[in-house]
Symmetry: C2
């Protein structure tokens, strides 16, 4: 039963408004500085410093020090997955109706480093339907035509494959209850979507906002 205290420890780290806010902010995949996180969470720098130290000791976040700045990021996709799972539970349990802000998050958002939400699920489904991806056991993998499509889209899939363990993998979406894509190729896809000017990300949110024209291009590309 030694695993019980561990899960309690992890949950307790998340189970506090200030820390939960920080972690949620980091869900957008960017690395933020201690001061930024402090401002977001609405606490002083000292308090934030303490929280961040605890989160890091617990292995939930990691930091990169650059000069006098200390950038924090989520420590692994499994942390993001756990946070999304908790969001799913919280969302269905809360009586607060979905606001407008919630709507944009449902449509498209970052899940750590890849695209999630309605459009993320859409991309997943279409890439399977177009036979760019094919199921392989419990995972998925690129087909030959899928690899060509990635390269045509500007994603150097061969070099990506060597950099990170998983190229592409399904990831459960809390708002849709269906799968979207994660993995290094999914990271590249989101980067390219933004590079194309199809979408952009606000500074203070995980929401990915597609321009009308951008969404049209996106859907046509997958059409």
């Amino acid at each position: 039963m030694d695993d019980i205290p561990n899960i309690a420890r992890v949950a307790a780290l998340i189970g506090y408004p200030a820390r939960a806010t920080m972690l949620s902010a980091l869900m957008d995949g960017r690395a933020l500085t201690a001061s930024e996180l402090a401002a977001l969470a609405g606490v002083t720098k000292q308090t934030a410093s303490g929280h961040l130290a605890k989160l890091e000791e617990g292995g939930l976040i990691a930091n990169v020090t650059q000069g006098r700045h200390k950038y924090f990021r989520l420590n692994g996709n499994d942390v993001a997955t756990a946070l999304e799972a908790l969001m799913g539970v919280a969302a269905t349990r809360s009586r607060t109706r979905t606001g407008p802000k919630d709507q944009t998050l449902r449509k498209a958002r970052r899940c750590y480093d890849h695209l999630a939400g309605e459009l993320g699920v859409f991309m997943h489904d279409r890439m399977l339907a177009k036979a760019w991806l094919t199921p392989k056991g419990e995972d998925i993998e690129f087909t030959v035509s899928g690899k060509s499509a990635m390269i045509a889209f500007g994603i150097d899939i061969t070099s990506l494959a060597t950099r990170r363990p998983t190229l592409v993998k399904p990831c459960l979406d809390w708002s849709m209850r269906r799968y979207h894509l994660c993995g290094s190729a999914a990271v590249g896809l989101l980067e390219q979507i933004i590079a194309n000017g199809w979408a952009s990300q606000q500074n203070d949110s995980r929401a990915i906002t597609f321009t009308p024209k951008g969404e049209q291009c996106f859907r046509e590309w997958l059409g």
Copy 2:
């Protein structure tokens, strides 16, 4: 940003040893009484009563009152999913090496109400390989031969389909990092496995222990 307090609230409910122990105990899918949960968590009945009321108010558990007994169960598969995700994070972050108890859990255990662990993943993979299941978009579904196999195995798949929303669905396994099966058919499968005498469940653990012969039959059935 109204979703932040919610996730913190849910996590805080889990983030306490007594409550985490109770929730973990309920992961085996059985409904337990307040006194049993109190004993498992190592607190008095009064304390447990308070915890259980909080968990219920938070929507994580639900109860069925039968006479003077009050049986508690997890309130939905998404709660189990979130708990598993937290276990995954906790497991990889903790320095404690996998003990013998851990080994049996890795081999086979209940995840809420269905089979998880090595053998659960094995069943998922084999049923796909045998073409009893086939991927359907992001989900999976039974093939004709799969349905026959289920009926032959003693699972009334047609009546199950009407009782619960999802018949069969992939569910991520924290120890294996791969998918096993959940859904009403998966519940039936585990029940039948136990009814066949292939495996049994200890009273105080989520572990499912297969008899040597039972495991052999299980593997042959899927062979």
